[in-house]
Amino acid sequence: MKFAWVIGTLVSTRKAEGLEGVKFLIVQPLDERRLPSGEPYVAVDATRQAGLGELVFVVASREAALSLDESFVPVDAAIVGIVDDVHAPLLPEEE
C-alpha cells in the first residue's frame, strides 16, 4: 500500500453498475517520507471517513475492489486506512 493525501472530492451520478453509494476522493500519491511523488488520481474511500487534507494509505489493483461491499466493480485504488502516525526512525532525514 502507498501513502496519499486527500486533495479533493469527486461526485458522479452516472457510473458503472455496483458503484452506487461509493465515495470517490482525489488523492496525491506520496513517497515514503510522505512528500508528493507522482500524479494525483481518484480512489474510492473504503473507510468512508477520509476527509480533505488527511494522510491515508491506499491499496491498488484487484485488492482495491475487494475492499468494497460490492467487490466486482471497476475500481483499482481504494483508501483502506487513515494514518494517525508514522514512526520511521530509520528514514534518513533530507540531506
Binding site: M1, K2, F57, V59, A60, G81, D85, A88, L91
Partner: protein
C-alpha cells in the same frame, strides 16, 4: 517477493475491518547490495518483524490472503513473510 528493510511503523485507528489488530510496517525495498531503492510499501507484518530488520516481502493478493488466512475478500497485498539473515550473491564471471 523482494528484499526490504523495515524503516518504521504505521499507526491507523480508522481503517478497513481487515486491518483491525494487524501490525502495519513501513518497508523500503533494497537492491542486491542492500541499498535502499525508491520503492516502499506499507506491509502487514506476519513474522514479528522490528524496525531495522532485513525482511522478505511478499506482494501478491491471493497469496497474501492465504498466508494470513484472511478469506478471499481481504484487501491485502504486501505481507512481511520472513526475516532475512543473509544473502549471498555470486558475481557473474
Amino acid at each position: 517477493m523482494y528484499l526490504a528493510r523495515v524503516v518504521g511503523n504505521v499507526v491507523a485507528t480508522i481503517k478497513h475491518p481487515f486491518y483491525e489488530g494487524r501490525k502495519l510496517m513501513l518497508v523500503q525495498r533494497l537492491d542486491l547490495d542492500h541499498k535502499p531503492t525508491s520503492t516502499y510499501d506499507v506491509a502487514v507484518d506476519d513474522v514479528q518483524a522490528g524496525v531495522g530488520d532485513f525482511v522478505l516481502v511478499f506482494d501478491e493478493g491471493t497469496g497474501a490472503r492465504q498466508i494470513l488466512q484472511a478469506g478471499n475478500t481481504a484487501p491485502v497485498r504486501a505481507v512481511i513473510v520472513g526475516i532475512v539473515d543473509e544473502t549471498d550473491i555470486c558475481e557473474s564471471s
